[in-house]
């Protein structure tokens, strides 16, 4: 699924050094499980996002292996430590080989 995929990420713009911040991510994706059948009884082939990663200045925060049991429009919430000013990079990997990316800057005051 290459159309209509839109990542949305919520990250605070500023943080104190070493502070833990909560990050919320959501990406619009139908996450077809491969279990459903269409009107004619044919199985609808699986099409999901199978991996999600979040990194800050090249250091990993979380790496999620995703199975078909994750809901439509996969949502993840987690906490990250921010040691210095930098940029979060979020990456989603689709079954069809597409890679979706989002970036957010965080300033440490």
């Amino acid at each position: 699924m290459a159309s209509g995929v839109k990542p949305r990420v919520k990250v605070p713009k500023t943080a104190a050094a070493g502070e833990s911040i909560t990050i919320k991510t959501l990406i619009s994706h139908k996450m077809e499980s491969g279990q459903r059948k269409d009107g004619d009884g044919n199985v609808i082939p699986r099409s999901i996002i199978n991996r999600f990663t979040a990194d800050f200045n090249g250091q990993n925060v979380i790496d999620v292996a995703i199975e078909p049991a994750i809901s439509t429009n996969p949502y993840f919430q987690f906490d990250a430590t921010v040691p210095e000013t930098g940029e979060f990079a979020f990456t989603w990997y689709d079954d069809d080989g597409s890679v979706y990316e989002a970036k957010k800057k965080v300033t440490v005051a």
């Binding site: 833990s20 911040i21 499980s33 279990q35 459903r36 059948k37 990194d55 800050f56 250091q59 990993n60 925060v61 979380i62 790496d63 999620v64 292996a65 995703i66 199975e67 078909p68 049991a69 994750i70 809901s71 439509t72 996969p74 949502y75 993840f76 919430q77 987690f78 906490d79 990250a80 430590t81 921010v82 040691p83």
Partner: protein, 139 residues
């Protein structure tokens, strides 16, 4: 068939066998998945918190959160789904709280299981039963 004592005994035992073999098909898949994750090691409980609703009206999006301080990896399983694996979280050096929340699909009323691999190599497991009104695996 004439209903002799022998026939009744045979019938009864085969019925018991069938129910014993038929029922826990999904549960054993889950046990396999847990064993594959832990390598057969014993799992403790306590240092892991699994947050899931008691009753979910819609099995398509069930909010689930898991947290285990000191975990390097947490895997989520649903023992009543066609495939029990849900997601595996690996935590990097900048992960503040070793936990995450997401939304999952549940085919019906079942147990959601979280297994965490801790920094010292031990394993922690938590289980929560979720009652599902409408299943979330199509059909």
């Amino acid at each position: 068939m004439e209903l002799t004592r022998r026939n009744v005994v045979v019938l009864g035992s085969s019925a018991a066998l069938a129910s014993a073999v038929g029922m826990p098909a999904f549960a054993s898949l889950t046990d396999d998945a847990i064993a594959a994750f832990t390598g057969g090691a014993e799992t403790g409980s306590g240092a892991i918190t699994l947050t899931a609703p008691e009753i979910a009206e819609n099995g398509n999006t069930v909010p689930v959160g898991v947290e285990a301080p000191g975990a390097v990896e947490i895997t989520l399983l649903a023992d009543g789904n066609p495939t029990p694996a849900v997601a595996t979280f690996k935590f990097g050096p900048l992960s503040a709280v070793r936990g995450a929340s997401t939304r999952i699909r549940l085919a019906g009323t079942q147990n959601v299981i979280a297994v965490a691999k801790m920094e010292d190599g031990s394993f922690q497991m938590a289980k929560a039963e979720v009652k599902v009104t409408i299943g979330g695996c199509g059909g």
